[in-house]
């Protein structure tokens, strides 16, 4: 039955994460932006509270613990994930992205790692000290075209030697491990790609610099360098078996693409949370400071009406993508739709809210920060244009047209 009511579990996680966002994240948002850093003692505190950004856990859901005899409970991990993420990003997206946990590195390990690798890499996120995972695909000359990566992986005895550079890597410098995509033979194109888990401290693996950004300043964005970096065999994600099993199929590339189907709804949910934060902040000011009739009131009504509508539209697209993932249905089109729309509408909502705030919005107010933060949500995890490409490919799939 079509329904937009939250289950008890969904409601609980929404309320819990909202409480955390309101009381722990939002109060440090502006200061963290100014410092361009989330305070270490704060990270230590929330880590001890067990708060992690672990997107891979969202793909788990309730059914994994169900016994065969019991009626299978519907998975809702992805829906819970987008609900929770929207609330956290509402508090502050840069702080949220800085939370300890596997982050965007989680989904590829979860979906393609061997049982041993899952245990080894995903079990490190404990309460004793904050740890991070990261995901490194983008290179200076390969962003949207992920199949064109240049980082090489040369097979040697006992493992691979990596050489290359990665950019725009969220939490890349502080991460305990990074999922790195590299090619064993660039002439094979996608089929030559492999995913490796490179651990911090590995010889030849370093962070060359941290990027200075328009927004999300409190969150670390790293450039990583691999110079004759030896990665042992057991860190090849999925093991050799995964690639032998798939023959000539582009499985390394598939690992990267498959990741997007679960992370794009999460990223969309973040953009929605940001847009909602800007909208609610502005609505409050309009309620208190604006005249109750006349031209300004009319303008505010139309702008806020449209902002709220667009937020709702983005949320429903995101929920649909997450719902499909929970049911095990293919969701690449829906994941692209929600990401494309949420990323674009996030910026639009923030800009319109700034219009309502006028010049005073420039001076130490949350919305201008959110405006700077949200722009990248229309870029990373696939630009808006790439999302359109994905949607179009799915739209034309019945006609065998390759867009």
């Amino acid at each position: 039955m079509i329904s937009f009511e939250l289950s008890e579990q969904q409601q609980q996680i929404k309320e819990m994460t909202h409480w955390f966002a309101e009381n722990e994240i939002r109060p440090i948002a502006l200061e963290a932006d100014k410092m361009e850093k989330v305070p270490d003692d704060w990270l230590d505190k929330v880590n001890k509270m067990g708060i992690h950004l672990n997107t891979s856990s969202f793909s788990g859901g309730a059914s994994s613990s169900s016994s065969g005899k019991k009626a299978k409970k519907e998975r809702e991990g992805n829906r819970m994930g987008v609900l929770a993420t929207e609330e956290m990003a509402w508090g502050d997206p840069a702080v949220t992205l800085s939370l300890p946990g596997a982050g965007l590195g989680g989904p590829p390990v979860e979906s393609s790692g061997t049982p041993e690798q899952k245990e080894r890499f995903l079990s490190i996120f404990q309460n004793d000290q904050p740890r991070w995972g990261a995901y490194a695909l983008t290179e200076p000359d390969a962003g949207s075209d992920a199949s064109a990566i240049h980082t090489t992986a040369t097979k040697v005895d006992g493992g691979y030697i990596l050489n290359g550079q990665k950019i725009f890597i969220t939490n890349g410098a502080r991460a305990s491990w990074v999922v790195v995509f590299a090619t064993v033979d660039s002439s094979l194109g996608r089929a030559g790609q492999r995913a490796f888990v490179v651990e911090k401290g590995t010889a030849g693996f370093s962070c060359s610099r941290l990027a200075q950004k328009m927004g999300l300043r409190a969150n670390e964005t790293a450039e990583l360098v691999f110079e004759d970096c030896f990665v042992p065999q057991e860190n090849l994600l999925g093991g050799e078996g995964l690639y032998e099993m798939n023959g000539s199929k582009p499985s390394g590339f598939q690992v990267a693409m498959k990741t997007f189907d679960s992370t794009r709804p999460i990223v969309a949910a973040m953009a929605i949370g940001i847009a909602r934060a800007a909208y609610e902040y502005t609505l409050d000011i309009v309620k208190h400071d604006y005249p109750k009739q006349g031209d300004f009131f009319r303008m505010a009504s139309e702008i806020l009406g449209e902002a709220e509508q667009n937020i709702a539209a983005a949320r429903l697209l995101t929920w649909e993508a997450a719902w499909k993932a929970d049911l095990g249905m293919a969701n690449a089109k829906e994941a692209a739709m929600c990401k494309a729309y949420a990323g674009k509408t996030g910026l639009d909502v923030c800009a319109k809210c700034l219009e309502l705030l006028g010049p005073t919005g420039l001076d130490g107010q949350l919305v201008e920060k959110l405006y700077r933060d949200v722009k990248v949500f229309d870029i990373f995890e696939g630009t808006n244009e790439i999302q359109h490409l994905v949607i179009a490919r799915r739209q034309y799939a019945p006609y065998n047209i390759r867009v």
């Binding site: 079509i2 309620k287 539209a313 359109h388 179009a392 006609y399």
Partner: protein, 380 residues
């Protein structure tokens, strides 16, 4: 639990509706437009299948379906042709008022006729449809009301057996009136060329028509409450019809661009084309979801249901114009000629959005709710 999965019953009923839309409605679209009326046989078939009594109350032998089910059916039917759907005889938009007022004696006494195929024209003078040039007035008298003037264009005007008039009277109070004698009005035929030509567009003209107290369905706050809910229901159902047309235009444009070749390849292979199709798909999906959420809100009697309906209608209007215009654009010159359906869909779409509320007004009213808080917004 958040879910986008229709029930088994809905899936079955939607399949019947979609088959009817594709196999019966679509092929007759041009002919009905040319005749400026829906084919009688088609009308009878729709009634036989139950599609004309979805909103009517069970006590009137209607199906009294939930909004969430109805919107899915309306979408499926309108996939065939919106013009024909809007031209089906029967209760039309007034069905929502019959559903809310099933026991009013003057209606109840005629329920067999009203639910059995008689046509009712609804003249809603409020709801943001009437503009500054309003020409029909409701004058309050001690023993009833007097109607004077000319209505705005409404659907099913020439064939109307009954008329329901809703709006503010000369004292600014809401009122809903019932006319059961078609001799009370005359039809001004007009000159309609844009779209929805089979839907029976016309104006009703009233020359000092007395409406006795027995024919007053509701007044004052009671009328406000009924109109608020009825308009909410109507908006949601009309927005659902718009999503059906959007889906039709999207599918047609996708298929056309997948087959049409230029510069030696299918034009879908060019991103200028395929990205526009992707945007059409996105807008269609968004409008659909907002309609579904509004319908769910209506069924659950949520306080925000009225705002959700304003929101859904606004987005449906905007998306409908974009998607149908895009279909014409992607067909190029073929989109402009009547050998292909795209030009008709674009015309019908524009006529539809003109009949059911101005976009900026819908948006501003939705915003009013947000600023004031749901309960503080007065009925409009």
């Amino acid at each position: 639990m958040i879910s986008f999965q229709p029930t088994e019953d809905e899936i079955s009923f939607i399949k019947v509706a979609k088959d009817f839309a594709k196999n019966r409605i679509r092929p007759l679209a041009r002919a009905c437009e040319k005749r400026r009326a829906v084919d009688k046989t088609l009308d009878d078939e729709a009634a036989e299948l139950g599609f004309l009594s979805l909103e009517l109350p069970e006590s009137w032998e209607g199906l009294e379906l939930s909004s969430i089910t109805q919107v899915q059916l309306m979408q499926a039917l309108s996939y065939g042709d919106l013009d024909i759907i809007q031209g089906f005889q029967g209760a039309g938009d007034a069905a929502s008022l019959f559903r809310l007022l099933p026991d009013i004696p003057i209606l109840k006494n005629n329920k067999e006729d009203l639910a059995g195929g008689a046509t009712t024209a609804l003249l809603d003078l409020g709801n943001g449809v009437e503009g500054p040039g309003k020409q029909l007035n409701i004058h309050r008298r001690q023993d009833g009301y007097i109607l004077q003037g000319l209505s705005h264009p409404v659907r099913m005007a020439p064939s109307a057996d009954y008329a329901m008039i809703a709006g503010d009277d000369s004292h600014g109070k809401s009122v809903i009136l019932w006319l059961d004698n078609s001799a009370d009005w005359t039809i001004q035929q007009g000159d309609y060329r844009l779209g929805l030509l089979a839907s029976g567009l016309g104006r009703l003209s009233f020359e000092r028509v007395k409406v006795p107290a027995t024919h007053v369905l509701a007044e004052g706050e009671a009328a406000d409450d009924i109109l608020r809910e009825a308009r909410t229901r109507i908006r949601i159902l009309q927005a659902a019809k718009e999503t059906g047309l959007m889906e039709a235009a999207l599918d047609y444009a996708t298929e056309y661009t997948a087959e049409r070749k230029a510069f030696g390849r299918e034009i879908a292979a060019f991103q200028g084309v395929s990205f526009r199709v992707a945007s059409m798909a996105l807008e269609t999906r968004i409008a659909n979801h907002l309609v579904l959420e509004a319908a769910a809100g209506m069924d659950n009697q949520e306080p925000a249901a009225e705002r959700l309906s304003l929101r859904a209608m606004h987005r449906a209007h905007r998306s409908l114009r974009y998607v149908t215009d895009s279909a014409v654009q992607l067909l190029g010159g073929h989109g402009f000629v009547q050998d292909f359906p795209a030009e008709k869909w674009m015309r019908d779409a524009q006529a539809q959005v003109m009949l059911y509320g101005r976009e900026n007004d819908l948006l501003a009213r939705s915003g009013d709710h947000l600023i004031a808080g749901e309960k503080e917004v007065t009925v409009t």
